[in-house]
């Protein structure tokens, strides 16, 4: 069916289909069973399927997410989704933005630009209703015969065995059992898998309530994030405004802890709040309304043997930094390649420990940022409110105070500085591309995948596997270097090596750094070699290409070198 003929995502119902597993004499065994067909579970499933790993996804529902839910997808998420084959659809449909404005009462205090430089394929952020992302991933999943999404399939039992995990699944036809060598729990904040294993996600809850109203209307606010502290139309509280596609606007009203969630959800309560912001004669319809409070929390460990937790099942944050779905997509990105190598026998099971270590550290970073933002937005004591207001007053005139105003520190990918998979620098490098950093994008001219003007992007050339970037002086690599680069591509864990030539090179092979931005962003000089992980994080770099060092770093990055 053509994508255009499908009903809008929020109206789609996915049919339950009986699986042959339900008639099997013994529980069918699968390499990976993913629980939860939300953005994280679907991204992990598509990533694994691209790598050739058969996947079963179990979801207890037969619809996509209700309401817009996650709406802000960060540049790093778009890069991940680009690799999975849906990024351009998100950018095409979504509202791109990069500017945030902060107001105190009725006056602007300051604005910030989340991507002040050019030379990136993707925008800083795209706003898009969560159900669109889910719909794109479900459509993408259909391209893989070995990716089986089973709707209306609720996990009700779980038994960990030495060689896998036995799951009991409840369906409209009754229960059946299947087993996964690995189970990835992406089943959300109230994770059933977590509950069945007797595990908890713990943290700090915030004594405040917020109203989300998705409003459909024709309005001419610019595509920016607007945040008000104490506005005249909603005194004493904060308000956040975001634009989504389809003429839908997300308005977030802080209500305070005393607010009655049931009462505040009623349209006759919600509409006056919106009219206060938009004007009494504003013409709008309510799309979706929700009242929420939140907890910043995480599981103590994201790996429990053969069960791996990802997304909201593993960690939760307040919505103010857009760090929920974005960090969940980074979880999926981090896990898929590791599971693939382990299932393929090319890396030890211990590589999966690095998933937990890296993403637990990332969750801590997200929770720290989210907690600080929430404390600023929701001062928990009178003195805290005084400091907050003083900061806002000073921010009008003084740059130092603008840096302290915290209406949300928006999602940035974690730099995996302390990852056991990194190889420390031996050579001197400046700039941001330290081992563990997510790779910066940059424009390139490539022989493959040329855009309309021969232009492409570095991250679109860095594929699903390990990649080596070899920076040349304009001459194609030859002799021992070429032999060494080719040998890396032939190893058990192949490293696809790309030559990066300076501007003006008429290269038959490799990429040309037409604007010089690759060399600048990677602080590269002729001879520099970067080893990049399949999830596009730097694992090692040198000023000279030395195959034994690269092989040692590759062994380390695949969990085969436990020595410190």
């Amino acid at each position: 069916m053509d994508a255009q003929e499908l009903p809008p995502p929020q109206d789609r119902v996915f049919a339950y289909r009986r699986s042959p597993d339900q008639d099997a004499a013994a529980p069918a065994r699968h390499p990976v069973v993913i629980v939860g067909a939300g953005p994280v579970g679907l991204a992990a499933a598509v990533d694994l399927a691209r790598r050739g790993v058969p996947v079963v996804v179990l979801d207890d529902d037969d619809r996509l997410s209700t309401g817009s839910r996650a709406i802000c997808f960060a540049k790093r998420s778009l890069e991940i989704l680009d690799r999975l084959g849906v990024g351009r659809r998100l950018v095409g449909k979504g509202v791109s933005w990069k500017v945030g404005k902060v107001f105190l009462r009725d006056a602007p205090v300051y604005s910030f630009d989340l991507l002040p430089e050019d030379g990136h394929a993707n925008p800083a952020f795209v706003n898009l209703q969560q159900y669109y992302l889910e719909a794109y991933l479900v459509e993408r999943a259909a391209a893989f015969p070995h990716l089986d999404i089973r709707w209306r399939s609720r996990v009700t039992g779980l038994e960990v065995r030495p060689d896998g995990v036995l799951l009991t699944v409840e369906t409209p036809d009754g229960p059946y059992r299947l087993s996964g060598a690995y189970v990835v729990a992406c089943d959300g904040a109230r994770s059933a898998v977590r509950g069945l294993m007797g595990l908890e996600s713990r943290g700090r809850s915030f004594r405040d309530r917020f109203l989300i109203a998705d409003v459909r209307m024709a309005a001419d606010f610019p595509p920016e994030r607007w945040f008000w502290f104490d506005p005249p139309f909603h005194p004493g509280q904060s308000v956040l405004l975001h634009r989504q596609p389809d003429d839908v606007w997300r308005i977030d009203f802080q209500l305070g802890w005393e607010a009655d969630p049931e009462e505040e959800r009623r349209p006759e309560r919600v509409e006056p709040r919106i009219r206060a912001l938009l004007g009494q004669d504003a013409d709008f319809t309510l799309e979706w309304v929700s009242v929420y409070s939140f907890v910043c929390m995480r599981m103590e460990r994201f790996r429990h043997g053969r069960v791996l937790f990802a997304g909201d099942a593993a960690h939760g944050v307040s919505p103010f930094g857009a760090r929920g779905a974005n960090s969940g997509l980074q979880d999926a990105d981090n896990l898929a390649w590791k599971l693939h190598l382990v299932l393929d026998g090319k890396a030890p099971d211990a590589l999966l420990d690095s998933y937990a270590a890296e993403r637990e550290a990332a969750a801590d970073e997200n929770i720290l940022n989210s907690t600080r933002s929430t404390d600023f937005i929701t001062p928990k004591s009178e003195v805290s409110r005084v400091f907050r207001d003083a900061t806002l007053l000073l921010a009008r005139d003084h740059a130092f105070a603008r840096r302290m105003v915290n209406s949300g520190r928006l999602s940035e990918p974690s730099i995996l500085r302390d990852s056991p998979l990194n190889t420390a620098d031996e050579d001197g490098f400046a700039g941001a591309m330290v081992p563990g950093a997510p790779c910066a994008d940059a424009p390139v001219l490539g022989p493959e995948g040329r855009g309309p003007e021969g232009r492409d992007w570095l991250l679109r050339q860095v594929g699903d596997g390990f990649t080596g970037l070899y920076f040349t002086d304009g001459r194609p690599p030859g002799g021992d270097i070429l032999a060494g680069l080719r040998a890396l591509d032939q190893g058990p864990v192949p490293v696809r090596c790309l030559a990066v030539h300076p501007a003006g090179t008429a290269a038959a092979d490799g990429l040309v750094d037409g604007d010089g931005l690759v060399a600048r962003r990677y602080d590269a000089t002729p001879g520099t070699f970067y080893l990049i992980r399949p999830d596009q994080h730097v694992c090692a770099r040198w000023r000279r290409f030395d195959p034994p060092r690269v092989r040692a770093a590759l062994a380390r990055a695949t969990g085969q070198d436990p020595a410190p």
Binding site: D375, F376, S381, E382, V383, F387, H398, R402
Partner: protein, 72 residues
């Protein structure tokens, strides 16, 4: 939105000088945890006196006082 120059004629530097302002802000708020309003006011006064002494320049202190007082 235009912003006036951030260093005034009296030499008060209001450009960002902290590497991690969020962490310092958090420490300021956390320092007040469990204190009564009177104790919080006392903490703030002691903190200001300590920082004023650290600044060690009466002209800068005067400029900061004038800036803090502005608009009240």
């Amino acid at each position: 939105m235009t912003h006036p120059p951030t260093t005034n004629s009296l030499g008060l530097d209001t450009t960002p000088r902290l590497a991690d302002p969020d962490a310092v802000y958090e420490a300021l708020i956390d320092a007040h945890q469990g204190l009564s309003p009177e104790q919080s006011a006392l903490l703030n006064a002691k903190l200001i006196l300590l920082l004023v002494n650290q600044v060690g320049d009466a002209h800068i202190v005067a400029a900061a006082l004038a800036e803090a007082r502005r608009g009240l």
